[in-house]
Amino acid sequence: MQHKIATLALGVAVALAATGAHAGNSDPNDVRIGAYLLHFDSSGGDITGPYTVPGLNTSIESTTTLYLAYVRQLSRHFQLELAMGWPPVTYAKAVGPAFVGSVPYNGKQIASIRWFSPTALLEYNFLSPRSQWRPFVGIGVNYTSFFSRQITAAGAAVSGGPTSISLPSSVGPAATAGVLYRLSTRWHVVASYSVAEVNSRLTTDTAGVHRSSEIHFWPNAVVLSVGYSF
């Protein structure tokens, strides 16, 4: 974690150090809005704890949400992007046996979670700032905080009752690649592909019985957005 925070600090420092380089750019700010098409490649250990049969796992369902970003031009080729999705409702889906006892399991939505997940990216733009097509790549840091963690009826049935969910926040690396197409001096559209690493530990509490699973997932998103420079 400390390494990741150091990476974040380094990124911010690089960004701030570079802010002086935008002198002369008449439109250094850029806001973007679009669609975040999120897909999760997840892996995790089986859920363990009392009264838990082996082989219970979860995956996270893909979702689409609103993409919002602020981009600051730092120089002819570098820019800093602060991006996030409107906190999406994401469903955890059961992976494992068809039934736990006689309670349906595999494929059931067992929990819904919302998450606040801003990403800071330092990006390098190829070609000239005035080019109509402008590819870019970037690396950065993702911070993810989970909230509105709700067990579903199916999840409560398999857990054995009302259940609270704990998922600590995560800080992890992020990367992006994309292309900007300029529509006019100020308007443009952007298509990009981003990926981040999120690590957390899922812990549930059902009537005082705690079960847990290490969660690792890599939200990867196709972003289609429209931007305005000013």
Binding site: P87, S102, F147
Partner: protein, 532 residues
Amino acid sequence: MSQKNGRLIWAILAACALAGCGHDSPTAPISASRQRGALAVDPPLRVASLSASAFATQLNATATGAQLLQLAGTPACGVDFYYLKYWTVDPAGSPTEVSGALMVPTGSSSQCSGPRPIVLYAHGTATASTYNIADITDSSNAAYSESAMIAAVFAAHGYIVVAPNYEGYDISNLGYHPYLDAAVNADDMEDALTAADTALPHTFTPDTTGDGKLFITGYSEGGYVAMATVKAMQAAGETVTASAPSSGPYAIEGLGDLIFFGQVDIGSTVFAPLITTSYQNAYQNVYNQPSDVYSSAYAGGIDTLLPTPVSLTTLFSTGKLPESALFDTATPTSSTGVTQIDAAADALLAKPASPPYSAAEAALFDAGFGAPYLINNTYRVQYVDDAVENPDEAAMTVIHGGTLDSSDIALATAPAIGLREDFKLNDMRNGGWAPEEPMLMCGADQDPTVFFEIDTGTMAAEWSTQVQEGLVSVLDLDATPSGPYAPLQQGFQSAYDALVSAEGASTAIQSFHSTEAPFCMVAARDFFAQVP
């Protein structure tokens, strides 16, 4: 970044965060009450939910499960297993948290839902401190077979089952088990029932609740606990529809005397530390230090040995307990100086031999003598001397081959050593009571672990009037099959014969007591079913 732009970004972030400020789902609340019977977590955890067919499949996966299923019958209902945590009181009267099982029948038929009768079940002697009768998910847990048995016999046939784990087990932090402590055991049973009544409307099947009928049963130690619970509830003016205590050490003073007279039962080296620890904690009168009772080979740590997280096999192999040698092979003699007492005591201290005992009996009792041995000779002599001077008449009747009747089963008038005082206090003859509602006492005459004659026979003699009236019934699984329970008698005898054929008599006898259990429980179910 201009100040204006900065405000825009933070406004977006704040809006997003606020938009998502939904609530996290809560878990079940923890009760602040420590009153007796307070449900500590409400609703309780559902450990497992098994449909009738899934439960049958699970049982059929093992040979013993399949035998149980054949005896108990095809499940008519599914079973939801809940883990109850509730508050009761320890022997000092302080609140203490304990756990148990609530098994709720499920299914759409009227036999499996809506108002249903409750069976309050007391489990048998357990040495594993992790004993948890709610845990049907783990076949390696010490309580699994008993949990499966009561679920198969009762819950899968429409009875709501409530079964405490007892103080000293699972989450209990008491540090010992109040073994055969009638008042404490009965309190625990009643408190489990109260907690279950609270929990039932909050389960996944809230419409399935008690219909007003309460049946109490239990096996072995649980037979004793069941009877103690009937006694306590009856004294408190609470109605018990019917009861079926089975193979329990009801006449504990008489049984204790017989064991000290050399009729050593299978399991005695485990029962001894459980009972002395229980009574020492409750009454502080068993010993000044454990070496007053126990031999030097085992006295160290014996007072905290059971229940234990390690297996009995390990306790035996590491020299913590002898496997069967309760007493010294070289039997001691009495030296009170009173010739009559010494002569009587010496006869009782001698190792039982054939004759007058049968060869099988002599062999059974002989296993209770060895070296190293558990109970020291000085204490054994003190005990037997007291039993001669202050006799338990039932024990004396049995040891001399007499027939028990109401005239020769009195408790000792004034036992002079602590353990016998405690036995008397907790003996089910104490208090001059008799069941007011139907009771079936099931057992087997040849039971080598909890002797049938001194326990069930003594209580039947104590309640001879109720037996004659038909209020109290006795079922001896070893008797010639006859009457409504003939199929169960035949079934038990066949099952044990098969065990002897498969394992040999000397090995099979170790499993005699446990083999009885499901037959007695099915008898209890049949008995309850015919109570109006």
